[in-house]
């Protein structure tokens, strides 16, 4: 009963949203080069179905690869900053400054630096745009660990590594997953920025650019929807992982 409701409510909301969208286009009499309607999207999807699958896969694996690198680098940076006051003072301004640069400006630079390396460029941007929240959350999680948590094991003669594995790491997991939810969306943006900019680059971003060049507006909208679906998918994969690894931090509503 509860699960049925859990699925039915968002599905109903989606259907209502689609109907509202269709109605808005119809009542205003917008042509599809101004605003495509949901009924225009199906033909676009069908016409380019193989490209959607092919390019969708490109976008997906590039995003996931960039995100995985961001997780590794972000966690390592977070650990370094979380454990060493000096490193935190040294690295923080650097990271904040780097993060403040709009990544849209970095995209053409990377594209020129490694011309033609489409996969690498795309993964690189996905990584660059998404590691920051992970690094920050891990460093805050580790540096705010209450001393008593360390003491219960340190008093028994446990090594720093043991304390990290048994206490610091699991205790930081909820913050880590919070950051990962932000990072997964960011990585997705990074992938598409690069795919749109790079010529002959493949990926859904490239398909979007093709739609723009050939003035195929329903195709452009169809790509947006495909991206949204993929974004939801990735996001909920992270939510599922969070439930498995940090489910203890969830509070059941009273």
């Amino acid at each position: 009963m509860m699960t049925l409701k859990k699925i039915a409510v968002p599905v109903a909301a989606l259907i209502l949203f689609g109907l509202f969208w269709e109605f808005l286009v119809w009542v205003n009499g917008w042509p599809n080069y101004k605003m495509a309607s949901p009924s225009d999207l199906w033909p676009a999807f069908w016409k380019f179905r193989w490209l959607f699958l092919d390019y969708g896969w490109d976008t997906l694996w590039r995003t996931v690869a960039g995100l995985l690198i961001a997780v590794v680098v972000g966690v390592l940076l977070g650990m370094v900053m979380g454990f060493s006051r000096t490193m935190r003072d040294a690295l923080y301004p650097l990271l904040v400054g780097f993060n403040a640069i709009p990544k849209a400006t970095v995209v053409p630079i990377i594209a020129l630096m490694f011309v033609g390396q489409h996969d690498m460029n795309t993964i690189l941007i996905a990584f660059l745009i998404s590691f920051f929240p992970i690094a920050v959350s891990v460093s805050i999680g580790l540096s705010t660990l209450e001393p008593e948590y360390r003491d219960i094991l340190a008093a028994l003669g446990a090594s720093k590594l043991t304390i990290f594995w048994k206490i610091a790491l699991p205790k930081t997991l909820p913050e880590f997953f919070g950051a990962l939810k932000v990072a997964v969306t960011l990585a997705f943006i990074g992938t598409n920025l690069m795919e749109i900019v790079e010529p002959h680059g493949r990926g859904l971003g490239h398909l979007f650019d093709s739609g723009k060049i050939s003035a195929d507006y329903p195709l452009m909208f169809a790509v947006l929807i495909a991206l949204a679906v993929m974004g939801i998918l990735l996001y909920y994969i992270v939510v599922a992982l969070e439930h498995v690894f940090a489910g203890w931090a969830e509070r059941t509503p009273q």
Binding site: E148, D151, I152, L153, A155, L156, G157, K171, L173
Partner: protein, 260 residues
């Protein structure tokens, strides 16, 4: 007979931006095997520093901290600690929390024996049936009981309690005092209890040490006669009132105010 815990003339200062801040200066505490000393004193007088010295998490600037006649040089597996904050790990069940020290300390017990021991301790403190619950599902008093089990599960030779009942309401606290007596009868330990509560000190300990204001030295030591579990009624006898009165005066002196 050498005392199990022997602290002699300990001095310690913290380094701060504005120069060294002395917290302990001439501290003496001696606890025989099986003894239970309560340490009381004005707040900020360095009581928690004392626990860290005994645990080997800190070294004194001068003086000696001896356990069974040997100087403490670092953390040892033979210490058990419990704090005001029960610091239970949220991602573990109560049983897994209690078994945590056994994952660090070398033990001859098999996995099954370890679990058996943890379960029997939980039963001893009245947490039977809560083994598989998460800490967040327990009340403050129950969490503190679990924290106590974790502190003694590896049979430490020294139990250090740093205001473990400080954050509990009065009724829960008295319940836990009685639990402490039950635990001590079943699982004898040598312990140091840091507390703010004079009634708690005379009810639980057999020796009350009053520290002076910062930098703290041993100002007064009171022996509480009688072995074995006590009854809450004993807190309302004339002897108890007399002891509390003396300790209260000592605290006032420690705070730098003249005795009334």
């Amino acid at each position: 007979m050498t005392d199990l815990i022997d602290i002699k003339g300990v001095r310690h200062a913290y380094k701060t931006a504005s120069g060294p801040l002395p917290v302990l200066d001439g501290l003496d505490v001696a606890v025989p095997e099986g003894g239970f000393a309560a340490v009381v004193g004005p707040s900020g007088c360095g009581k928690s520093t004392l626990t860290r010295l005994i645990a080997g998490l800190m070294m004194p600037d001068a003086g000696e901290v001896l356990l069974q006649g040997k100087p403490v040089t670092g953390p040892r597996a033979t210490v058990g600690m419990a704090f005001q904050n029960p610091v239970l790990l949220e991602w573990r069940t109560i049983l897994q929390n209690v078994m945590l020290p056994l994952e660090i300390v070398p033990t001859k017990m098999s996995k099954a024996q370890q679990e058996e021991r943890a379960r029997s301790l939980l039963a001893l403190v009245g947490l039977e049936g809560f083994e598989d619950k998460r800490p967040s599902e327990l009340s403050g008093g129950m969490r503190q009981r679990a924290s106590l089990c974790r502190a003694i599960v590896h049979k430490p030779e020294v139990l250090i309690l740093d205001e473990p009942f400080g954050a509990l309401d009065a009724f829960t606290r008295e319940d836990l005092w009685q639990t402490m007596h039950r635990v001590k009868a079943e699982e004898p330990f040598t312990g140091v209890l840091i507390t703010h509560d004079l009634r708690e000190s005379i009810f639980l300990a057999d020796q009350v040490v009053v520290l002076s204001g910062r930098p703290a030295r041993t100002q007064y030591v009171m022996d509480i006669p009688g072995k074995g579990p006590r009854d809450l009624e004993e807190l309302y006898t004339p002897e108890a009132a007399e002891r509390l009165n003396i300790l209260r005066q000592q605290i006032r002196i420690a705070q730098g105010r003249a005795a009334a």
